[in-house]
Every structure is written in structure tokens, then in C-alpha cells.
Amino acid sequence: MNQLLDDETIIARLRSALDELTAPDDFATPGDELPMRPQHTMTPARWMAVAAATVLVIGAVAAVAVNRSNRSDVASTPTTVPSTTPATTVNPTESTLVRVETKWFTIISPDLVAGERTIEQCCRDSLPGPLLTMAWSSGDTFLTLTEYPAGPVTDVFPDANSTVREAATATLLFHSFGLTADERDALAAQVVAGSGLPYVLPMEGWGLTAMGQTAGNGRLVQMYTPLNTDPLSSYLPTVTMSAGEYRGELDLLGLWPDGQPVTVGGYDGWKVSAGDGAVTVFWDTGDGNWATLRIDAQLADRTDGLIAAVVEVDPTAPTVDTVPIPDPGVAEPGIEGVWLPPFTDGDDAAVGATPPTVRANLGGQPITIDPNEGAHLVVVVAHWCTHCQSTIPAMIDAMASDQFPDDLTVTVVATAEAEGEANFPSSDWLANLGWTGRTLITRGGAGEAGQIAQAYGASGYPFAVLIGDNGTVVARRIGEGIDFEALVALL
């Protein structure tokens, strides 16, 4: 189609599209009353039954405080609704702020930074999420039920691992763990509508394990991100802790039948690997709530360590900055392979040579400069080096240019760090210059050459080594005026 779109054209189309997307009059007028949030389809009578039954069967289920929050009373104190009373009737013209009462956990890991604790509401608006989940167990086997509005289930794909039953007022989706499909079908056929509970499974040996509504109530959520992340990567691996209402976690055992029992924070739970490589760990917190720990695929190899790092904490404790941000530390590098010859004027003998592989573990974050893993630009600087002050900003500007390859990995080696010298420590110095990307910091002394610098043949600072896709040195440059755009153009 159109191969010649320029920046101005694409920006104009972007503006037009977002103008159209955000055009509704609903929010065009500042100062309107808080808008209505959609109401759920469950009847009040059903939820009264759910609330009462939850107390009877499970014990203390998440107490939900619904706080009216229009403009005139947003400052009011939240009102906790005892779970033994019918839910507060919410005026459908007002929005709600939902509060969650639950046990809470934190991850003690020096290289993960905790974000703000927030409340995650579920499955509202255009997201057709499940409304009610129940789980029964008999020994190590489970049967779970998810109730959807009557009609086709649109947000899941029933398959060989599930059983669907169409009821008069709802569609019921069953999953199981430890059962054959026939056994699941037979049990699902026994589930009937209850009086004290939404549904009951009147089978000897089977008891209700968990129940929750997955729309309306909230869960506390806190996301952790690695301390050292690549700011140029659009993918930020995360670990997410949540706790609150049961949302069908046991379904995961049926959907991903590699579940393994684990102990998390003193509670029995399971860990399950999803198809995308992520790991979900969940456990019953014993107070009617459930907690989950979702670990992105990139961090999945640390699952067992992260599980061990989960501890229960006082939910009234401050949640921001409770995990100390450690000193980024200094790497003790491992250097493998033949070191490059020292850089000198004239023809560079290192061009075409294979540079060494540098490995370091910085604050728990492994960083490797491996010539066999694609093109690399290694920039060696020192915080006390006056000629290095303009190098980092020049490099950052070059990275933003059209000339800079997207797949070129850039690592700054802040070497010869020396306390007492100008701009110490290196981490602060680089951050002040705008660099928060891949960084190796090594100790030494002012005027000394660090090991990594020597391995690349640096004869002074700043110093840059460009390694090509074939794993050999393309060029090396030295001095304050390194032209990074011209350098990477050699690739």
C-alpha cells in the first residue's frame, strides 16, 4: 500500500485517529458529575445469598467496603461493610471506590523494586469476565465452576479440558484437576442450584473449597520490577503480587495440568506454568481470600527463589519503599578469551579479531557482553575522566537517531571507579547524564585501567569498541569526540 509515509503524515493520521477515539461528549466537559459505572448482571438477592453463604462455608471472606465517591463526599472515610450483612446498595448514578481487606505479602529480593500498591478491579465494562467461581475438592482432585451469563461463552474457549452446561439463566463452565473428562462430566451433571449457596455439589466426599465473585470486588495488587532494566527495551519483565477475592485460581490447575504444590509464605499453594512461559503461583490465605504471584517468562527461571522470598507482612504497614533499593554495587567481571591488543594510532590490529567475552553479576543482574550474541557497542568511561563527560550524552543522542540500529546492544563500562574522585559514584554520575541502560561498574583507581578496559585494549578514556554481527571487532575509537553515528554506520 503506502510505502512513502513520512513522519508528518503518520503523526497527522495518529492525531486524527486519537481525536476520533477520544471524541465522545461523555468526557468532553470537565466538571461533570462522576460518570456511572456499569452495573453487573447478578441480582442483589443472589449476592446476598453469596455473601451470607460465604461466611457460613468459608469463614471470613474479603470484606468489601463500598465508598460513595462523588465529588461531594470523596473525602469521606471508607465504610467497611461487614460481610454478614447484605451488600450496600450502590446508587447506579455514582461511581464506587472499592476497598479490600486481606492478608498481604511482600517479596524480599534485593534486585526487585516494589511499585505502588493499588486496587485491581476485575472484569468490568467491555471485558466480559466471569462473574462467579466455585471450587470443590475431594482429596487432591478439584472441580471448578465458572458461571457466565446465559448464552455462548465468549471470553474463553471451552476445549477438551472443560465441560460446558447450559442452564436456564447461566452458562456453566467446569474445569477439573485429577479427573478424567468422563468423571468431570459426571460430576458437573450433579451440580445443582442451591439455596444457601449459588450452586452445590451433593456428592459424598466432596466439599466446597473456595468461592468468589470476580466482578465488583477488588484485589490488592503490587508490581515489582527489576532494579536494573534496559530503558530502551519496550518490554519490562515484572513480578506481580495480588491478594483478595477468589477469582478461580484453581481453574489454572485444570487448564495447565503441570501444577505443583508449593509452600508460599507459610501457606500451601500451587505453581503453574502457562503456555507463554510465565508462572503463576497461588495460595489460599486462610481468611477467605486468595493470593497470586505472577512471574513473567523472563523471570520464570527464578520462580523457586521468588517463592521463597515471599513473606507475610502487616497489611497496615506502608507499602511504598518497603523494599530497600540496594547500592547497584560493583561487578567482579569474568573475562574469557583473548584480550584485544592495546589501541594505537594507525591501523588497528584489533579489527577483525574476536574480542573476549565479559560476564559480570551486578546486584543479582547478570550482564554479559558476548561477541557471539549479536552486535555490541561497548563504551568504556570513568567517572573522574573529564573527557568522558560529553561522551555519554553524545552516545544517547546517537541512539535516538535514524542511523542507530535497533538491534545493537549498548553497554557502558564505567571502569576504574575511585571513591574520593570527581563524580563518584559511577552510578549517580551516569544517571545524571541520562544513562540508565546496561552498565558494568568496576573498581580501580583514578588513572588506572580496569580489567575490562584492558581486555578491550583501551589506552585511554573514553573508549568505544564496536563488535559486529559476526562476532569480530568492526572498529575502535578513543577520545572525547567519538562520532557514534559514523561509528555504527560501519556495521
Binding site: L18, F27, S234
Partner: protein, 168 residues
């Protein structure tokens, strides 16, 4: 006013702020917050929710914030990012279901929204907030918690990806 502390209810973040101050802030920032959030998630309904939650978060801390507007920007961007992470599967499912179905948008808008939806979140946020919402690089950097130079990289890559998506 307390901020970020938890009241007598376990796990409950108490709300205690000046209604008058919050009223004024709410009136002057609500429309922008909803627009930003809508652009970041691609849905007016979800955008409304995220904006309301973000405004409520500002309200809880209003008297202790030096720059509530900046805090609001950051909160909207962060909550939209969180929403993307939590609902990416649902988004993809809906995209598959909606593929080929008529929409209420013009074809050009539909193409661009689909292209935006294909971008990694940070690129989407950068190009939307810079070229449509007219945020500065510094404001985007603060919201995305990265260096301004990184924002320029995101913009460059985001525009390039949009061109590629639209051209295909």
C-alpha cells in the same frame, strides 16, 4: 492529610483530603485524564475507569504533592501499563473476535488504532502522548520513569513501527 497510610481497616487505604482542593483539581483535569487513558488503552470505557482511579489516587495524596498534575500523568500512564499487562490476553482475544467486523470508526482511524495496538506499550505511550497529547519529552520520561533520551528512542521506534504497520 494523611497519604499512603492505612487506616483502621486492615488493607484499606484511607481517603482523607480536602474536598474543595480535590473538586478543583478534578474539574480541571478530568477530561484530560480520560483522554490520555483512552488513547493509551484504546477504549473510552476502560479509559474512563483508569482515569477515575488515577484521579482518586491523586486525591488521596493531594496535599503532599508538589506537582499533582505530574503525579496524575504518571499515574495514568502507569495504570494503563498495568492494565495492558493484566489484560493483554483479553485484548488479543477481542482483537481476534473483532477482526473483519465493521466498527464505528473510519477506515483510516481503524487502521491507525490497530497499528497502535500492535506497538509495545512504551512505544504506544510515547508516540500518543508526544504527538497527540503534546506532552514534552521530559513529561513523558517522568511518567514512563526513563531518561528523556530514551523517550526519543521510543518515539523513533514507535513511528517507524506505525509506518510499517500502516504500509503493510
Amino acid at each position: 492529610m494523611e497519604t499512603g497510610t492505612l487506616g483502621v481497616h486492615a488493607g484499606v487505604t484511607a481517603i482523607s483530603t480536602s474536598t474543595t482542593d480535590f473538586d478543583e483539581f478534578y474539574r480541571s483535569h478530568r477530561a484530560d485524564a480520560v483522554r490520555w487513558a483512552t488513547a493509551l488503552v484504546g477504549s473510552p470505557e476502560i479509559g474512563e475507569e483508569l482515569a477515575q482511579d488515577s484521579l482518586a489516587a491523586v486525591g488521596r495524596r493531594l496535599s503532599t504533592l508538589d506537582n499533582p498534575a505530574a503525579y496524575l500523568r504518571r499515574t495514568v500512564v502507569n495504570r494503563a501499563a498495568s492494565w495492558h499487562r493484566w489484560h493483554i490476553r483479553a485484548v488479543r482475544r477481542e482483537a481476534r473476535v473483532a477482526a473483519g467486523q465493521p466498527t464505528t470508526y473510519t477506515q483510516a482511524t481503524g487502521e491507525m488504532l490497530a497499528a497502535l495496538a500492535s506497538l509495545p506499550y512504551k512505544q504506544r505511550a510515547a508516540v500518543s502522548l508526544r504527538y497527540w497529547a503534546d506532552w514534552t519529552d521530559d513529561q513523558i520520561a517522568e511518567a514512563l520513569e526513563c531518561a528523556p533520551s530514551s523517550v526519543r528512542v521510543l518515539l523513533h521506534r514507535g513511528l517507524a513501527a506505525l509506518k510499517k504497520e500502516i504500509a503493510e
